[in-house]
């Protein structure tokens, strides 16, 4: 034990390598619980789509595929800026780290903004039917009840995904402030790396949500 322990090495770790591996292992364990969490929603989707294929097909057609596709591009772009923020920290460029974190925050916010536009169009429909599950749901088809189920899945899955994005953006803002203070550098960037892993995971969830919700009724 020496007094030369750097301030960014927590006292219960022997060395930086051990600290880094513990952090990465921890976030990966958390992420597999997230896989099972979203997995349950996907499973419900699969089971009911198998039972009510017609309702799923029509429901999917009622989503805005252009906004969905734009959001996919925005989110993947935000994953790139997140990866570059980690790269900035790894190469000791504090300015690059902060700037790319800010870019990720902005892109994540754009995603949520577009999502809000989509939700708004559903909550205040200009059509003569209403696709919000609940007392006011109406659609002129024999399988309207089944479509209500599709939209329950749509709002639950995209809603849970959006909550993950909001939490992610919150953490990124905190990281950005810290990065501006010069906290992260080539010897210590665990929080940036770990948040990056979380952010990429949320991206992967959307990579599956987009085709399953927006694209199944197009052909």
């Amino acid at each position: 034990m020496s007094d030369s322990k750097p301030s960014y090495l927590a006292h219960h770790f022997d060395h930086l390598e051990q600290q880094k591996q513990s952090a990465t292992l921890g976030i990966w364990l958390f992420l597999i619980t997230e896989v099972m969490f979203f997995g349950g929603l996907f499973l419900g989707y699969i089971v009911y789509r198998g039972l009510y294929p017609e309702a799923w097909h029509t429901g999917s057609e009622k989503l805005n595929v252009i906004l969905g596709a734009i959001n996919t591009v925005v989110l993947i772009f935000s994953s790139l800026t997140m990866a570059l923020a980690v790269h900035g920290a790894q190469t000791g460029s504090r300015k690059k780290t902060a700037n790319f974190l800010l870019a990720t925050i902005i892109l994540g916010s754009i995603f949520l903004g577009i999502k809000a536009i989509e939700y708004h169009a559903k909550f205040f429909p200009t059509t003569d039917y209403n696709l919000i599950p609940g007392a006011n749901f109406s659609y002129p088809a024999a399988y309207a009840d089944q479509m209500q189920l599709f939209f329950s899945f749509y709002f639950t899955m995209t809603g849970m995904h959006a909550i993950h994005m909001v939490i992610g953006i919150g953490i990124l803002i905190w990281l950005y402030v810290k990065a501006l203070q010069g906290t992260y550098h080539e010897n210590y960037y665990n929080p940036v790396e770990v948040t990056g892993l979380y952010w990429h995971f949320v991206d992967i969830v959307w990579i599956f949500l987009f085709p399953l919700l927006y694209l199944i009724g197009r052909h």
Binding site: A69, I204, L215
Partner: protein
């Protein structure tokens, strides 16, 4: 231990691949392959390839300890168990019921030149 740092070039290349695959998945969604299942299969294949790109490069799995591969892989195993076992139930219910119904009918009304037990087809 020195950590492998993925180059900016690699990140940009993977980003381009993800963009192309996104365009591709939208494009093929509008093509009718005759059987709906084929559309799903293509869409999910593209999604899995995209997810692998993110996992291996963006999430640095390629340069991570084997333990992390094991953890990431285990989530896929448990997911397959959960989805697979549930679907064996939901997807076999109708068949099971029809078979049961047939068996009861045969038992009540056995055709003359047929064995009394219908067997499962």
């Amino acid at each position: 231990m020195k950590h492998h740092i993925v180059s900016v070039k690699t990140y940009l290349a993977i980003f381009l691949v993800l963009m192309v695959l996104t365009a591709l998945t939208v494009y093929v969604a509008y093509i009718d392959f005759g059987h709906g299942l084929l559309n799903d299969l293509i869409a999910m294949t593209i999604a899995v390839v995209k997810a692998m790109c993110v996992l291996v490069i963006f999430m640095h799995l390629k340069y991570s300890a084997k333990l992390l591969w094991l953890i990431a892989g285990s989530s896929v195993v448990w997911l397959i168990v959960m989805v697979g076992l549930t679907l064996t139930d939901y997807r076999s219910r109708e068949w099971m019921e029809s078979q049961l119904h047939r068996a009861i009918e045969w038992q009540a009304n056995p055709p003359a030149e047929q064995p009394a037990h219908p067997g499962l087809h």
